[in-house]
Amino acid sequence: MPLLEELASPASSAYAIATALLTISILVSGIAIGIGKALGNRRIEGFGKEELTQAIISCALFGAIVVLAATTEAAAASLVPSFSPASLCPMLSHLSDSPAFYAQCNYASLSSSSESLLASAMKSQNILGFLSKLGLHLGAVSAEPFFGLQYAAESMSPLISNFTFLLSLLFLQASFLGFAIATAFPIFLPAGLILRMFFPTRKLGGAAMALAIGLYVIYPLLFVAAIPTLPDDAASIASARSSFDAFNSKYSGIPMMDLQKENVVVQQINELSHQDLVGEASALVRSLSHSNASIAIFAILLPLLALAAAFAGTFALYSSLGSEITLGKFEII
């Protein structure tokens, strides 16, 4: 059972630990107030009063989190746009999915389509490389009629390397979101709440709670906001893939031709010379460049911006949750 659900269940160990910590906190504060009063020591009395206030606030937060455990998913899900313009995830067409689930699924789909494109691009590069080296040696004369394609094949190499790097970043992003889903609300939030209940671990607890909210809610929000641009990028990747696939199916037989039979090679070269191979190759390079740019936004730019936003949000939450929540703050409000 996830810790969050466990915390909400009165029969569980987590619930017993939380209530025991709260009661201990109240007992310590009561004894400190009494002893401070009896000895006339204002520091001990002040500590007791402060601790009692914090214990009551922690109790209130604990009660709220127990209710939140049942409504968390629904609350986070309300942040996903209801119009859901063109999600890459067919299973995420309803509203019961949180931004983190939504982002993770879209990243997984984007990675999958990019992976297919990468495979097709590698095949095309192999064909172009083969064609560029295809030559005839007729006695004293030798010719490589498609040598010009070497430039296209060489241009494709760094693009493919770059695309592979971006693809690994997409996988990393999907894994990171999976980590956030698996740990933020089920582990960090309740653990933070328990740690926040006791004064020696209050800051640590506040940090854990802030991290949970930052990871699960703030971090994927930017991706949710960027969803409207996703269909265009996904379409450009799909279009590039279909171009590569068309090229591959058109010329897939060339590397397999029988090179021992000279007349077959000559005939093939003759047929190919009527094709606009350079034009097709440059179109492939262009579409791969476009795809690189498309996924760079989702692999580098958005995660960096989301990380900055999540860091700022988490830090602000930590400042509030990690410090003593006093009545003075409510008086200011």
Binding site: I17, L22, L27, G34, A38, A60
Partner: protein, 87 residues
């Protein structure tokens, strides 16, 4: 995920601490109330210029004892009631 022997150990440890504090609270309370009464009684034997101090100390001990008794006695109730503030 919390689970296993460590959680059981923490739970037992916290229950032990809670039970100890629950036992210490009333004892401290009674000690302070009795000491407060003794101090207040002794105050009557003091000279007029120091009697006030003794009386104040006695009353402070008595009040401290009452506060400890009240808070420790109602700790579980405070915890349960506070948990419902935000819900």
């Amino acid at each position: 995920m919390l689970g296993g022997e460590i959680v059981a150990f923490i739970e037992t440890l916290l229950s032990g601490i809670q039970a100890t504090l629950m036992n210490i609270g009333p004892m401290l309370s009674i000690i302070l109330i009795v000491m407060g009464g003794i101090t207040y009684g002794l105050a009557q034997t003091q000279a007029a210029e120091t009697r006030g101090k003794w009386q104040a100390a006695g009353i402070a001990m008595f009040v401290g004892g009452v506060i400890i008794a009240a808070v420790t006695g109602a700790a579980a109730l405070i915890q349960q009631t506070s948990s419902k503030i935000l819900t």
